[in-house]
Amino acid sequence: MTATASPARGTPEGPRVTAGGGDERLLRVSPLRRLLGRPELGAVVGAVAVFLFFSFTADSFLRPSSIGTVLYAASILGIMAVPVALLMIGGEFDLSAGVMVTSSALISSMFSFQMTANVWVGVLVSLLVTLGLGAFNGIMLTRTRLPSFIITLGTFLMLTGLNLGLTKLISGTVSTKTIGDMEGFPAARKLFASSLTIGGVDLKVTILWWAALVALASWILLRTRYGNWIFAVGGNADAARAVGVPVRGTKIGLYMGVALCAWVAGQHLLFSFDVVQSGEGVGNELKYIVAAVIGGCLITGGYGSAVGSAVGAFIFGMTDKGIVYAEWNPDWFQFFLGAMLLLATLLNAWVRKRAEASR
């Protein structure tokens, strides 16, 4: 790449003289401009702002232990925000994601307890059933062609009811029986709910799960055929179908991805407390969506990133815990979140407009 120093803008209808290397009509894009084109930029700016804000207002915010706590809060949300972001890039919603986490935890707990089986059996059964729930969402969506809002609102309500109803029916109360003394529990706890200390900072294993999922999702999204299809399916499903992309399969796969992560989050929920409250999870689905949107996902599909969803979840974690460290009334959390969502969305829209104009 030779330095094309001549700032010749050339005639508007430049002749076909692409000499070897770069194109003379292509002005060198500054790294800043390139950065502006990234979907997660708005979220990164927001994250820095939130970080600085709490660093100054909350004294204990910068302590190593606080960092562990913030990351933990972020990871719980982030594990689900990743597949929800992918799904959103694919042009769909999943309102059942929040309660599906609880369902997944309830299934492993109750199956193990009722069958007095090794908890790993329950964990495996839960994986299969949860994947089935995801597939159900996807198949219903692609078969009926109803909006995903309606389909998953339906499964959301049904799962909420099933969680409460079946738990009461089977264990007699609204929570599951403790499985802490059952076979396989310590090992499962190690995998899903242990913590490790690195440099004096107490880090939960969910942070590793989260990081791994973000890396995996980014790889899939940017470097595999399936990732290309996700963007295409969300950006223009008809066009994707016309060039031979399996639109149905792609969407079903995305819903099963949400289910897979719901299983991970559900197992964490179970093994960190060893009992599960059957009414939990309602409302979380919106938090996942908020994290994905703050992270730069376009609500209409076709645009976004997995890393963005992670930054969104991190903002979430910082705000959630920062308010506590600043010793404010935690009731303000929701207000903060709403304001953040609006700001992030506005910023994203502005950034995208600038990025496209700069081309």
């Binding site: 076909r16 009509r25 470097r223 299809w229 950006g235 994707a240 496209e356």
Partner: protein, 309 residues
């Protein structure tokens, strides 16, 4: 200009009008399609030969889109025969049509606006490298191939990384055509490629259509603009209310006659009587710019094919 001279070709198919040797790449013979009790298409015959452009003309609702969807594999035909390379076939999906070498470029362009040009170019046929869990998109190959393939068609794009939505309608159309040519399509189906374009951009697109023909593809050009069709077409099939209203080769029809038939012949005359009060209307108002150069333009278009430098 009395009506009733060339309304005869409605039956019997297009075979007798063309004198081309060899089997057609794609041939429709008396094809019909019904949606419930609605007759969308009936008794339509069409031949597509390598290195030729077959034009399908018709007004809105004439059945052009249905015809395309049958050739593209989006719909199955209900009666008649669809022959690919002389063999009777039914296409079950767009993928199947693609595998048989039939590529379709749709009116709404079949691109994903927010995706970069190179991702769009390879969409559905992405090359990969590596194996197992490390199987990944060959990004450098994709970028370079896109640039090279576009250049070969004479499209010099500034940046293959820009979202394809930032290109103009004509440019997008050309990218879609280049994509079809690159993936070894034998038959290129173009749905109203010039419908939403200005005169100059239409000219550019028609040049790429001609370039695809010169590359040896059989082209089906769907349009409601007889001027554009006559510039590049070798065969013309007229559709009217779901049925075939005529089938001609280039040397058996003049542009005026084509325009007249296309516009509905006697209906148009009736209309011109009705409108006489306002202005003295020429047949077909939309493309009068192009029709100004009737005599020379067809020769020019085929005589000056696009040669990649």
């Amino acid at each position: 200009m009395t009506a009733g001279t060339a309304e005869t070709a409605g039956t019997g198919g297009a075979a007798e009008t063309g004198g081309t040797a060899g089997t057609a790449l794609v041939e429709l013979d008396g094809v019909a399609k019904f949606y419930g009790n609605i007759r969308a298409l009936e008794g339509v015959s069409l031949e597509v030969h390598a290195g030729e452009i077959s034009c399908v003309l018709g007004d809105n609702g004439a059945g052009k889109s249905t015809l395309i969807k049958i050739i593209a594999g989006l719909h199955r035909h209900d009666a008649g025969d669809l022959l690919i390379d002389g063999v009777t076939t039914t296409l079950g999906s767009p993928r199947e049509a693609l595998d048989r070498g039939i590529a379709t470029v749709y009116q709404d362009l079949a691109v994903v606006p927010l995706m970069p040009v190179w991702r769009n170019f390879f969409l559905g046929s992405e090359p990969t490298k590596g194996r197992g869990p490390f199987k990944r998109l060959d990004v450098t190959l994709m970028r370079e191939t896109t640039r090279a393939a576009l250049l070969r068609m004479g499209i010099d794009l500034r940046d293959v990384d820009q979202p394809i939505g930032t290109l103009s309608g004509g440019e997008r159309q050309c990218v879609a055509i280049a994509r079809a040519v690159h993936f070894g399509a034998k038959v290129l189906v173009l749905d109203e490629p010039t419908a939403a374009l200005g005169v100059k951009q239409s000219g550019v697109v028609l040049k790429y259509v001609a370039a695809a023909r010169d590359a040896g593809l059989g082209v089906v050009l769907i349009t409601h603009n007889p001027h554009h069709a006559y510039l590049v077409g070798d065969r013309f099939v007229l559709l009217k209310r779901g049925a075939m209203a005529g089938s001609h080769t280039k040397d058996s029809i003049t542009l005026d006659e084509l325009t007249r038939q296309m516009a509905g012949g006697s209906e148009l005359e009736e209309l011109s009587h009705e409108l006489e009060r306002a202005t003295g209307p020429e047949p077909d108002v939309t493309a009068s710019n192009v029709s100004a150069s009737d005599g020379t333009a067809p020769g020019e278009a085929s005589g000056k094919p696009l040669r990649p430098a």
